[in-house]
Symmetry: C2
Subunit: 229 residues, 2 copies
DNA sequence: AAGTAGAGGATTGTTGAACGATTCCGCAAT
DNA sequence: ATTGCGGAATCGTTCAACAATCCTCTACTT
């Protein structure tokens, strides 16, 4: 048996992907939060949820901890778990991080061509979502686009962090009415950034992105403040 | 009683910092890992640790989950918890993130003067650590310095992420012998960066930092690969 | 009427025990 | 040297219990 075969096998080992019940439960809850089924501020009672999912309180609590660390749930001692409610400062911090990381990802690019597959697919998905007026899906597509930007840095940890940041952002989007307003204008701008990168003009892409993020932040923060007040 | 007094009190409420046992346990374990008492690869048996700390298995497991999410522990299903053992790729990714975030933090600076207190204190602490040949403390001081760089971005989430990245890096430092070699050369370079910022020359600071990080990464990755092989 | 104090109920925090499932380790068999 | 097979150890998960804490509602005071 050649060493090559063994190496490939050991590469695949992580794909076996066995997961504990707690992690699967966390996955289910994460989905509900991200998809908007669980609204910010909603309380998640241990007994109630545990019974509904058929897991014990202990296992459920393990799942809660995971989501707390992802900042999707907030834990108040002796009061329970709540779907996180972002403040306007949280929102601004999220954009601060986005601007830091996304722009840095573009800046550190070497010579073209770049691996634009994720971003390309996101724009395509966004176009068809817009055509069919699925505004929530358009928002998802836009987020995938920015996930794709960070992927250009080639750092698993940066990807992870960005995933968390975007998940948190959904907590904001889900309490906003009129989602179209916050997603549609940015589709062509994503496209423009993509074009710049395709042309090998990373500095231009970075400038576009910086303005994009500032605009988006302003619009969202204003709307969110209004929604809360 | 004026409203002002009440407002100040409510601002301080979060400082009361009530924490659950699980979080305190996590804090203790985190300390042990970061200080090097628990070496990478070491297994943390539930019963053993639980008995030593006087907490139940369930509570301990909650603490383990927290640290797993911080990437300080690794969880293998049905095998238990282990102090994380970084690969060389992990190490390179950590530096990728550092370069992304730290340089971005310097780049987004507005007009001087800057809030250099953390960095200044870190250099001072580093100097006295070097004078007394406490090399491990010198490493800690250097890390504080870079934490201070990210603080310039004014983003709690970025601070948090950096804290995690630096904690992970300790997992590497703790398996390296001859810590002096990896810390001492960087103290004057930190000082130089600090000086550049004090002069209001952020672009120069950023250039210095970029080279610093690349040098450090090379040296550390080489040494680490040798240590592992 | 308004505000305070306290009792009672509900929920969380933590523990301890239990049992099946999985892994680890040593030993025999090939 | 490799394989196969127990037995011991450990993990994964559940359940039940109780103390601590919080919430609510009522009754009382002013």
């Amino acid at each position: 048996m050649t060493d090559n075969v063994l190496e490939e096998l050991s590469d695949d080992r992580k794909l076996l992907g066995r997961t504990s019940t707690a992690e699967r439960v966390a996955g289910i809850l994460r989905g509900r939060i991200i998809e908007g089924g669980f609204r910010p501020g909603m309380r998640l009672a241990e007994e109630e949820i545990g019974r509904a999912l058929g897991v014990s309180r202990n296992t459920l609590r393990e799942a809660f901890r995971l989501l707390t660390h992802e900042r999707l749930l907030a834990h108040e001692l002796n009061r329970g778990m709540f779907v996180r409610k972002l403040t306007v400062e949280d929102l601004e911090d999220l954009y601060r991080v986005r601007r830091l990381v996304e722009c840095a990802a573009l800046r550190q690019l070497a010579a073209p061509p770049y691996a634009l597959h994720t971003m390309d697919a996101a724009v395509t998905a966004g176009l068809s979502a817009r055509a069919e007026e699925r505004w929530r899906d358009l928002g998802t597509a836009n987020m995938h686009f920015h996930q794709g930007i960070v992927e250009l840095a080639g750092s698993p940890r940066a990807d992870d962090m960005m995933r968390g940041v975007l998940a948190e952002l959904r907590l904001v989007f889900h309490v906003m009415e009129n989602p179209r307003r916050f997603h549609e204008p940015y589709l062509p701008r994503n496209r423009e950034i993509l074009e710049a990168l395709r042309d090998g003009d990373a500095p231009r892409a970075e400038r576009l992105l910086a303005v994009y993020l500032d605009d988006s932040r302003h619009q969202l923060a204003d709307g969110y403040a209004r929604q809360l007040g």
